[in-house]
């Protein structure tokens, strides 16, 4: 079957997003690979909402470039999205909500679909028009009606039989309209094999959901947070689930209290995580310094949104990397990881928790708005044999000699760089944790030599972590003979990789280096990669090129940069066209 990209646009509140979600789930259940992208307005009412779905029988790397199909609920959506439809693409619009626009591009095939009217006729109400749209699109995509009905039932079951019934009527009416009235062929004529076996083995979920599941899998049993777009869904998910796992969650008064409470729980021996976004991150800076200084395990998930300041809360940007790596007065080492897709949202949350525990250090996970709300169908996460670490605990039995004499040394300078930690309640384990510079016991100590020794203790962890992760700190793709290398991070990976593959189809050999560990950087591998290339391009969704700066500050390379700072993600075509320019002799 073909690679198809669909877009649905309408006003916030018209059901665009739920329309997209039902269609996505149905498509995935019908056996397609899927990849979604959405934008919300920042207001509760009004403003444009958009949902984009890409489907393919083969795995999908990115959200897609131009659309094969646009469904516009109203005139505003039509105007806004029309020009993104590919040459030969199709536009369905609701003639009752749109003008018959004479300016429709010649190359576009436009079809009036009176969604409101169809729905009204079928259900005596217009509220289900988005479900009618699902019916139309499911038909065009070749998704069996029964699969969509199944999804629909689950979606609406909580609202009662009546609502479910209404929606099925709306759906069927749309489906039938497409069959009977739409003078366009199915976009996808290949029969879909809804392979049961394979479906059981896959999960359909978003980045935010995967982070929350990762936290549960890693043994996180405490969460404190304060609502903030686009991180709230992680907190809401954990609010429902943590108590079911014997864990604790508190919605607190602000982000300072959120990280503070997590610090308390971590001090008390419980794995803790707090999800937030830029403005919240800004408030957590002082406490991040304390976590680093007091050597506590802690995971902070920063779902980046478009900044600076309040910025564009519902839009995506990779703007917090410098802050994550360096954003504390004084020098407080921390680890920064960035997942590239939904699956890594899970695996890296587990890794973040593991590293925090083993190295007693704050770990920041950098997701972003586009990844947070992106739905993918992924291989089911393996829980059995999942590597889950826990801090090395101090007990009377692993007391060493010096402890006998002078008491427990919480910050003992050990060969492994790690000092075993006593959990409150442990016999003879009491000690002082403090944000002041201190000696091995945790007593304040301002002597020059202690300060230096403790700096080494704290910073050496970064080196150990770089070594510990080794090759798993990055992903690299190097076709034979490639002399141009792209470096990217976070949610852009698939888009970049798609561009690289498209370039390869055009006989341009491009290499790709994608670190998941951003602080410390996998310097050796990065250097090796850089050395093999004639040209390097760092691709980032921000204005200043934060990864480029971070790399340059540590390695002797001078990359080109491709930045996009517009609140919307790159498309692979944009990257491809840059590649072409660079590759031109």
């Amino acid at each position: 079957m073909k690679d198809l990209t669909l877009r649905i646009g309408g006003e916030g509140g018209e059901g665009v997003i739920s329309c997209g979600e039902i269609l996505t789930r149905s498509a995935a259940r019908a056996g397609f690979h899927i990849f979604t992208f959405r934008t919300y307005p920042a207001e509760i009412r009004g403003g444009l909402a958009m949902f984009q779905l890409r489907v393919n029988a083969k795995p999908v790397l990115a959200a897609g470039h131009r659309q094969d199909l646009l469904v516009a609920f109203n005139q505003e959506a039509l105007n806004a999205y029309m020009q993104d439809v590919r040459q030969g693409g199709k536009i369905l619009y609701d003639p009752d909500q749109c003008d018959e626009n004479p300016e429709f591009r010649k190359s576009l095939k436009t079809f009036p679909v009176p969604l409101t009217r169809i729905c009204k006729k079928a259900t005596d109400s217009v509220r289900g028009k988005n479900v009618t749209a699902v019916g139309v699109m499911a038909n065009l995509l070749g998704i069996p009606l029964e699969v969509v009905i199944g999804t629909l039932k689950e979606q609406f079951q909580k609202k009662g039989e009546k609502i479910v019934g209404m929606n099925i009527l709306a759906l069927v009416a749309g489906f039938q309209f497409a069959t009977e009235e739409l003078s366009l062929k199915r976009l996808n004529s290949a029969p879909v094999h809804a392979d049961r076996e394979r479906r059981e083995d896959r999960l359909i979920l978003s980045g935010n959901q995967a982070v929350a599941l990762g936290a549960l899998a890693a043994g996180v049993r405490f969460c404190a947070g304060y609502p903030i777009t686009p991180a709230t869904p992680i907190f809401e998910f954990l609010a429902r689930q943590l108590p079911r796992f014997g864990g604790h969650i508190i919605q607190v008064e602000d982000e300072i209290a959120a990280i503070g409470a997590c610090i308390g729980a971590s001090y008390a021996g419980v794995k803790s995580l707090t999800p937030t976004s830029g403005p919240g991150m800004a408030l957590m800076g002082e406490f991040i310094g304390l976590v680093s200084m007091a050597e506590l395990p802690l995971v902070i998930v920063d779902v980046q949104r478009s900044g600076p300041s309040t910025g564009m809360p519902t839009k995506s940007e990779q703007g917090d990397l410098s802050y994550a790596a360096l954003g504390t007065p004084g020098e407080a080492p921390r680890v920064v990881l960035a997942p590239s897709g939904v699956e890594e949202c899970f695996t890296l949350t587990v890794l973040a928790t593991n590293l925090a525990e083993r190295y007693q250090i704050p770990v920041i996970l950098l997701s972003d708005a586009s990844l947070a709300y992106r739905t993918e169908s992924v291989q089911k996460f393996k829980l059995k044999g999942l590597d889950v670490w826990r801090r090395e605990e101090w007990h009377e039995k692993n007391r060493h000699e010096s402890d006998e004499e002078e008491g427990y040394q919480r910050y003992a300078l050990t060969k492994t760089g790690i000092s075993p930690v006593a959990i409150p309640g442990t016999e003879h384990g009491y000690y002082q944790a403090t944000g002041l510079e201190h000696d091995e016991f945790g007593h304040p100590n301002y002597s020059p030599s202690y300060h230096l020794a403790m700096y080494h203790k704290r910073f050496d962890k970064l080196e150990r972590i770089e070594n510990e992760l080794g090759k798993s700190a990055y992903d690299t793709y190097c076709p034979e003979g490639s002399r141009i290398g792209i470096i990217s991070w976070g949610s852009t990976k698939g888009t970049v990789r798609e561009a690289v593959l498209l370039a390869e189809e055009r006989d341009l050999k491009i290499a790709h280096f994608h670190p998941i560990l951003l602080n410390p950087l996998p310097k050796v591998a990065l250097k090796e990669f850089a050395d093999r290339m004639d040209r390097l391009i760092v691709v980032e969704e921000n204005f200043t090129g934060q990864l480029a700066h971070l790399i340059r500050s540590q390695l002797d390379v001078e990359p080109m940069v491709l930045n996009k700072a517009q609140g919307i993600p790159f498309t692979s075509r944009e990257i491809l066209s840059f590649i072409k320019k660079v590759a031109k002799p």
């Binding site: 999960l203 001090y267 008390a268 083993r358 889950v388 409150p424 309640g425 002082q432």
Partner: protein, 343 residues
């Protein structure tokens, strides 16, 4: 490395969903002199866990005297500082309640008062300026069987930390919170604080303080705190009694301690406080909030004693109940099943 899961007792639900206060036999006698430690009081650990109680009785450690709670680190306070008296009254409260130092966690803020935790035998965490309550609540929520005590100065608690106080009061974590109030910023050498009296000249108020003084008790009553008391570090017996009761109170017990700074505050001195403090009348009823507010607002006298106390479910109770309910739902704790719902 080990893949050991989090310690079970860290997050396991309590066996009963009854609020702690209903399970615990409150000790009705108001503790008198701090000397009365030993045998009879030993088993009265604060922990609401029945098994913890049992364990404590079993362990039969000899009752600790107030001095046994000294950490061995010599206080760095000025001679005569009110914080010494606050510390010793706290030691008495610990002793009266037979607290085992291994179960004691002190969270302190930044300030002269913030050094408190270093001087007490027990787990200590000297956090950031103004952030005692968030950290303490994280510990309260996630553990059981510990006595969690927070210590702040007036600046720490009411200026930079003032935003956390109403929310701690609402959540009612089972903990003690001491505000050592010297009406001055001690550690930074003498700037006015939220409780400094109007017109006082300090290094940052050369023309006199113009802000109205905050009264911690009035606002705590407005926040619905479940235990609100005030003591004076030089009225050490009363303060020790208050500390003892605060430790015993199942919920958020705030003790506002008048704890003079002899170096930077020439206004709120021992003499001033001796002249102006007055114990609440013997027949005072601490269950009447409006009455408590009236006493707190008294324009002449600074009353000391337990202004208000109320037993209601704690943060810990609520969490335990939530976990117990949630644990009963289908497939609770089954991550494999949870994954399988994403299809």
């Amino acid at each position: 490395m080990s893949t050991k899961r989090i310690r079970e007792n860290q997050y396991e639900a309590l066996p009963s969903d009854k609020p702690e206060r209903l399970k615990r036999k409150r000790n009705e006698k108001t503790a008198t002199t701090p000397q009365k430690t030993g045998e009879t009081l030993r088993a009265k650990t604060r922990s609401g866990k029945k098994d913890a109680d049992a364990k404590a009785a079993e362990a039969a450690t000899p009752g600790l005297l107030p001095k046994d709670y000294k950490s061995g680190v010599k206080p760095v306070w000025c001679p005569g500082c009110g914080h010494y008296g606050s510390l010793s009254a706290f030691f008495k409260g610990l002793s009266e309640n037979g607290i085992d130092p291994k179960d004691l966690v002190i969270i302190s803020g930044i300030g002269c008062s913030g050094r408190f935790s270093h001087f007490v035998k027990g787990y200590g965490f000297h956090v950031l300026h103004g952030r005692v309550l968030p950290v303490a609540q994280g510990i309260c929520a996630s553990t059981r069987g510990l006595l969690v005590c927070g210590v702040s100065g007036d600046g720490d608690a009411l200026a930079i930390g003032g935003g956390h106080l109403p929310h701690a009061a609402r959540r009612n974590p089972n903990m003690v919170y001491m505000i050592l109030d010297n009406s001055i910023y001690g550690l930074t050498k003498g700037q006015f604080s939220p409780t400094t009296r109007q017109d006082t000249v300090t290094t940052t108020s050369p023309f006199g303080v113009t802000e109205k003084r905050l009264d911690p008790l009035s606002l705590l009553l407005g926040y619905d705190a479940s235990f609100v008391a005030r003591g004076f570090s030089a009225n050490n017996n009363q303060l020790a009694t208050i500390m003892t009761e605060a430790i015993r109170h199942p919920g958020f017990a705030v003790v506002h301690v008048l704890s003079p700074c002899v170096t930077f505050n020439r206004q709120v001195t021992y003499d001033f406080l001796h002249a102006n403090c007055k114990e609440l009348p013997p027949d005072y009823d601490p269950s009447n909030k409006v009455n408590a507010f009236t006493y707190a607002q008294d324009p002449d006298k600074i009353y000391t004693g337990i202004f208000y106390r109320e037993n209601r479910p704690t943060l810990q109770n609520y969490h335990d109940n939530a976990i117990q309910c949630a644990r009963k739902t289908a497939h609770a704790g089954d991550l494999e099943h949870l994954l399988s719902t994403f299809k």
